[in-house]
């Protein structure tokens, strides 16, 4: 799949944002007054920036509100509702923390509900991808696990610097490893093939593409990453996204500085992971284009 920057930024930022927001809602980082304003503000900023980024890849963003209508069937629509619910439910928690420190909504029922919406948002986001049978690498329980683990790690780095965050980072690393390991070869194992795509038997091969020019489907759904490149990026994703932040969390004294220092590599790693998440995902439509598509685009 085409690794579109807007979608990568969207999932990464909203992952950290809602992860952090959820952590704040849960009261994992007790903040009050100005600190609460800053913390919640940051969480909101990240989450909303992510959501805004997601509209950049829309053909008609002015109609984005329509995306709320199909919550009964569409994970994208549900994600919309969940994110609004999470943002809305977190508002009293944040306001309370900032202006009525005595109210202590975080960590209590209202906070728990708001956090649940945050988790739900992440889950919905992940399900947008996990639901797609057309992309076997995504169509798997590892996808929600991966997204939730990243949100947890990001949230923990910001909210709970220290061993807990280190553990969360390692969990996200584990989720990555799991997703890589179980994802590799799933496309092939799923059984779809040019033969099934065309019904023309096992000895079929694309001869000529329908058009010599590229098209939307090819650009959007058929992307090739060189093996070497992918391996390097996986190491970066693991190292920067999970290893380094975990290390920093363990060695640095918990605090703002630690959070900030760990968040930077973590985000970089998350971006790498998300880039790979898209770029390495093979869509079954590729069976129709096969290598001919590469030749047509000169990427072989």
């Amino acid at each position: 799949m085409h690794p579109a920057p807007s979608v990568i930024i969207f999932t990464v930022l909203s992952g950290v944002g809602f992860g952090f927001l959820g952590a704040l809602d849960l009261g994992l980082m007790p903040v009050q007054g100005g600190a609460a304003l800053v913390a919640f503000g940051l969480a909101y900023l990240l989450a909303v920036a992510g959501l805004v980024a997601s509209t950049f890849h829309l053909g008609n963003p002015q109609r984005a509100l329509r995306a709320f209508t199909q919550w009964r069937t569409s994970w994208l629509s549900r994600e919309g509702w969940a994110s609004v619910a999470a943002l809305a439910a977190s508002a009293p928690v944040a306001l309370a923390a900032a202006f009525r420190p005595g109210m202590m909504l975080a960590g209590h029922l209202p906070g728990l509900i708001a956090a649940a919406f945050c988790v739900l948002t992440i889950l919905c986001t992940s399900m947008i991808y996990a639901q797609l049978r057309t992309v076997p690498r995504w169509h798997h329980w590892t996808t929600p696990v991966l997204f939730l683990a990243f949100a947890a790690a990001g949230g923990a780095i910001l909210a709970l610097p220290g061993p807990v965050a280190a553990a969360a980072c390692l969990v996200s690393g584990g989720a990555m490893l799991l997703a890589f390991a179980l994802g590799d070869g799933r496309f092939a194992r799923q059984g779809q093939s040019p033969a099934a795509a065309t019904g023309l038997g096992p000895r079929v091969r694309p001869f000529a593409p329908p058009h010599t020019s590229p098209n939307y489907v090819m650009r959007e759904m058929i992307h090739h990453v060189g093996r070497k490149h992918a391996r390097r990026l996986r190491l970066i994703a693991l190292g920067l996204g999970a290893g380094l932040p975990a290390l920093l969390m363990l060695v640095l004294p918990a605090g703002l500085l630690a959070s900030a220092l760990a968040l930077i590599p973590h985000l970089a790693g998350a971006l790498a992971q998300r880039w790979l998440f898209f770029a390495e995902a093979e869509h079954v439509v590729g069976h129709y284009y096969g290598r001919a598509a590469d030749a047509a685009r000169g990427t072989a």
């Binding site: 639901q131 099934a196 000529a208 939307y216």
Partner: protein, 245 residues
């Protein structure tokens, strides 16, 4: 809307004969021509005269090579457009309800006024049948020429998809695959028509008729010579031949 309607009795779709398609691409440009001025926004062509032209087409014709174990390799031309699936994943993923399957005939359409251009439905389609129009920012797909097949401004015989009407070899057939007695259903039954990627669970309505077996070894049947030319010479051959006359 986004939820699929209960299965309709009428299932309109195409039956494409891979034994007959010569890959002429007529259906491709006829489709482009009709839909450029018909349903919804025009089908744009970006960089139309430049180095990487990229336009929206609702129907594309691939060509595959099949190399059997015995006998020479074959080329099969393979048109591909929306299959109007009964379990259309492109519909259920749509967040806006723009993508829907018509309750009365099963045609899968995009309501362009509601489409935000998120592209999710195209991701959900296994067949690459949806293309986002780069100029209009809305999702485009085969409409089964819904603005032709019922169009009272067209003569009765023209109420069929543009691609079917233009196909010079008659490799494309349009009809009701929900009716087992329809001409298309009978074709499918007679010729062993099949669905693409059934394991994706989309239950396509369109069917493909497989190429007939080719290059049968016919070396066995040969002509019996009139008589041994060497033995009788030309004169003997001529006599035998003209005797029959």
């Amino acid at each position: 809307m986004t939820a699929l309607p209960p299965p309709s009795a009428k299932k309109l779709g195409l039956v494409i004969d891979l034994d007959t398609c010569v890959g002429c691409q007529a259906c491709v440009t006829a489709c482009k021509g009709w839909n450029d001025q018909g349903y919804g926004a025009p089908l744009s062509d970006m960089d139309a005269y430049g180095s990487e032209p990229c336009g929206t087409f609702l129907n594309r014709v691939h060509s595959y090579e099949v190399t059997p174990d015995d006998g020479p390799a074959q080329i099969i031309n393979f048109p591909r457009s929306c299959l109007h699936c009964e379990d259309a994943p492109c519909v259920t993923v749509c967040p806006t309800g723009a993508s829907y399957k018509r309750a009365e005939d099963g045609i899968v359409l995009v309501n362009e006024d509601a489409c935000i251009g998120c592209g999710l439905c195209a991701w959900a389609c296994p067949y690459g049948a949806r293309e986002m129009d780069a100029a209009a920012g809305v999702m485009k797909k085969c409409t089964l020429c819904v603005d032709r097949i019922y169009n009272e401004n067209l003569p009765e015989e023209d109420r069929q998809p543009a691609c079917v009407r233009t196909c010079p070899t008659g490799a494309r057939h349009f009809g009701d695959l929900g009716d087992p007695e329809s001409a298309v259903s009978r074709l499918v039954a007679d010729r062993g028509g099949y669905a693409l990627m059934p394991e994706m669970g989309t239950r396509p309505v369109n069917r493909y008729l497989p190429p007939r077996p080719k290059d049968a070894r016919r070396e066995a049947s040969v002509l019996a010579p009139l008589l041994d030319l060497q033995a009788t010479g030309f004169a003997g051959w001529l006599d035998r031949l003209l005797e029959r006359f």
